[in-house]
């Protein structure tokens, strides 16, 4: 079965993926912050039994404590779990569908963090899938809910719908022209937040950003999604215009071809260099300077993250070895692509 991230998506030149996350808790137990490992295991088992009793989704059960650190971090690099979930893994578990589009973190900040990922801009579809699973779980478990303030969550910032909808965007041209910070200021006034999807702090590796709704109380799921979609579409058209403008310059086009040249022939590629170059190449593909499949580039970005390379190799590789493996995988990917597009 194809992983969700190699599917072709709507607005795929700029939008990599869509994610819906719902937080839920069981009424009968204190929130995870007040549970010991034994009780966390009990909560995990209860939710697992509820999830597996419905035949329509086949989940793989992963005891987080059984993973190596690389395997755990790799799940975070693929955005299947939060970075926080890779630490302190005792008493935590993950339910994951085969195509990795649905993952349920158990005993993260809340008892249940249900997440649905879809390629491209697909907020409605992702929400629909999440909503159905949520309703199924709701029929089998007693959720912590209050009619006044909605789904009760460990942190009051998530009360209400307890839904975070987010869209992952590739914004190389807005980044190159220094317009991300003003964009961030604008969207924050609209109840949204934008931040780098890879790496910490403000520097977004590969110019990949995530935009999501900030407010969850007093707004319906539909309104939050509509708001996010409308603003995402505006950013998408701004980014496209900025790319067109940028690529009027011969020097910029040259940069893109050179980036492709390095990726196609390098023998060592660090994660940082790879992200910088693949971002340029992806912009070239998005504006059809050359024919490269965006989906394959998206997949490459996911596969080439450090812990994911370690996890795939089954061992903890020294960085130099990892850089060699990365360079080879990237060369192979670009080479095989050249064949079917030229």
């Amino acid at each position: 079965m194809n992983k969700w991230y190699i599917e072709k998506g709507d607005q795929g030149d700029v939008v990599l993926s869509t994610r819906i996350r719902l937080a839920r808790n069981l009424e009968a137990y204190p929130f995870p912050g007040r549970l010991d490992v034994q009780s966390k295991k009990k909560v995990c088992a209860e939710i697992r039994d509820a999830a597996l009793s419905d035949g329509s989704n086949t989940f793989r059960w992963i005891d987080m404590a059984s993973l190596t650190p690389s395997q755990a971090v790799s799940l975070a690099e693929r955005h299947l779990i939060s970075p926080e979930f890779t630490t302190d893994r005792e008493g935590r578990a993950l339910l994951l569908t085969e195509d990795e589009s649905v993952s349920i973190m158990l005993c993260e900040e809340d008892h249940i963090r249900l997440q649905v990922m879809q390629a491209g801009l697909a907020l409605e579809r992702a929400y629909d899938i999440a909503d159905k699973i949520d309703t199924m779980l709701d029929q089998r478990l007693q959720y912590a809910f209050d009619e006044r303030i909605g789904y009760l969550t460990q942190c009051p910032t998530n009360l209400g719908t307890a839904m975070r909808a987010s869209v992952m965007l590739h914004l190389p041209a807005l980044d190159a022209t220094g317009r991300i910070s003003s964009l961030a200021a604008t969207v924050s006034k609209l109840g949204l937040v934008i931040r780098g999807a890879y790496g910490e702090g403000s520097s977004a590796r590969g110019s990949i950003y995530q935009i999501s709704n900030q407010i969850t109380l007093g707004i319906t799921e539909q309104a939050a999604i509509d708001n996010l979609r409308a603003i995402t579409l505006q950013i998408v058209s701004q980014e496209r215009a900025a790319q067109e403008q940028l690529l009027k310059s011969e020097a910029e086009i040259d940069k893109i071809w050179r980036a492709r040249g390095v990726l196609s022939s390098a023998r060592l590629l660090s994660a940082d260099e790879f992200m910088t170059l693949v971002s340029l190449v992806r912009m070239g593909a998005a504006r059809q300077i050359f024919n490269l499949s965006l989906e394959k580039l998206n997949e490459l970005i996911v596969r080439m993250q450090p812990a994911t390379i370690n996890a795939a190799s089954g061992q903890n590789l020294p960085p130099a070895k990892r850089d060699a493996i990365r360079a080879e995988a990237v060369r192979t990917a670009l080479l095989t692509q050249g064949d079917d597009t030229q």
């Binding site: 709701d138 809910f145 006044r148 009051p156 009360l159 707004i219």
Partner: protein
Amino acid sequence: MLCQNCGKREATTHIKRVVNGETSESHLCAECAASLGYADVFSGFGMSFGDLLGGFLSDTAAPQTQIASGNRCGKCGSSWNDIVRAGKVGCADCYRTFYDRLVPTLQRIHGRIRHTGKTSGSAGTHAPVREKTEEELREEKIEMLKKKMSEAVAEQDFETAAKLRDEIRALEA
């Protein structure tokens, strides 16, 4: 102790700021605390939601929080000060116990304090759970008996099937 910001008024608020595991502490007067945005205990949450660690929590010595500090959540035992100190709510019942004190915080984080989204079907005591009517219960029973009857027929257990048929007739009458 004097306020560490203005150095004039008496410090009444003790601010504990935790960012990525680093704790810094300061003592402020009420005015400075308010003007620096520390007046609200959860004001840090708006910035720290999701994957970001950190945010600040204030442990106030202000009279208003002293009064009710004896109150504890009946289910998990958290006091208001425990919640403030941890920056986390203990359990679902904490929200009900400390609802009135949380409202200003919620107002500040979300702008609104009334949930308008999806509702939980299995919602606890606060949700309007409608009792099933006599009629609905009777129909459910008939449904169940009919299912049992067709199972009995399929197994060629006609004696049981006949008994079930009589029961159904009696209910439908």
